[in-house]
């Protein structure tokens, strides 16, 4: 299959059409973890997990910052698709599950140190279970 794809890509290139340079084969995965704002979490500019950060996570998601799933394995999975919707900037379905603990089925692509997750289905949604605002207040401004 991969050889067929390469031949097809080579044919398109010869025909003068552009194709992505490195379409890869994904790994089928199920990931369980918390839906997070990846910017605040990765950079540690504030405490970026749980109910304390929920409002900020909504701001960032609506503002177009990539949303991810912080897996129980500690890895950050950048979400590029949910169901049939390939919108991944301010995706309405993602906004509805921000900060929730979820289990999702999907395809995992790894490229240059980043894990990209294409979710086919949210198979379990526990809602927000990381309740930590009594410890950390409202991040980042306290209101």
């Amino acid at each position: 299959m991969r050889q067929v794809t390469r031949l097809l890509a080579a044919g398109l290139l010869l025909a003068g059409l552009s194709v992505p340079a490195a379409a890869a084969t994904p790994e089928r995965v199920q990931v369980t973890g918390e839906v997070i704002d990846t910017w605040c979490y990765i950079t540690d500019i504030m405490f970026g997990e749980g109910s304390t950060h929920h409002q900020c996570a909504l701001w960032c998601a609506v503002g177009g910052i990539p949303v991810g799933v912080l897996g129980d394995d500690g890895e950050v999975y950048m979400v590029l698709k949910v169901g049939d919707d390939t919108t991944n900037v301010a995706n309405p379905a993602i906004l509805e599950i921000q900060t929730h603990r979820v289990s999702v089925d999907g395809d995992l692509y790894e490229r240059d140190g980043i894990k990209y997750l294409l979710i086919d289905q949210v198979v379990n949604d526990e809602g927000i279970v990381n309740v930590n605002h009594d410890d950390f207040g409202i991040q980042p401004f306290g209101e």
């Binding site: 992505p20 379409a23 910017w39 405490f47 503002g63 177009g64 990539p66 240059d112 309740v131």
Partner: protein, 183 residues
Amino acid sequence: MKRALTLGALALAFFASQPAAQAAQGWGLPEEEEVRFDATVVDVLCELTSDCPDNCGNGTRQLGLLDGEGVLHFVHKNFTPFTGASWELQDFCGKMVTADGLFTTNKGYRIFVLQFVREGADGKWQRANRFTGQWAEKNGVAADSKEAKQWFRNDPEVQRLIDEDGVFGLGADADKAYFEANQ
């Protein structure tokens, strides 16, 4: 701890409001690198899967920067508070640009903050802060208004979500209990 984090966030908001100068400006991020490099603007999902809508999805797709060595850099952030970079790069879909900004590496991930961008080697520099103006136009307010500068507190979609589930996402009772205990 809480105070330090809040000061950090305020510092970022301050840096984001400073006058333009076409050179990366440090934000004090982990393992921060001030960089300028040439790259092609790509739709990340398209790059991975060959699912490629016209014009990189017209603002609906996360965009990346594919450098000359074939490395795909995931662009996380622009120059305004709480906003990403897709809208800043949208006009350059499929084009070669010079990107100026910051790499930060933490927790094993290296991501990019776009601060300035120009098309090609001699295009006009643009500051990566166009989100606010676009939000203002969409919401019928002036780009320099208080509402636009604090877009995140005034965005109708954010307000709808907060009205539904509260600032903690746990409902109105959780908000009430917190605010009563922390007056």
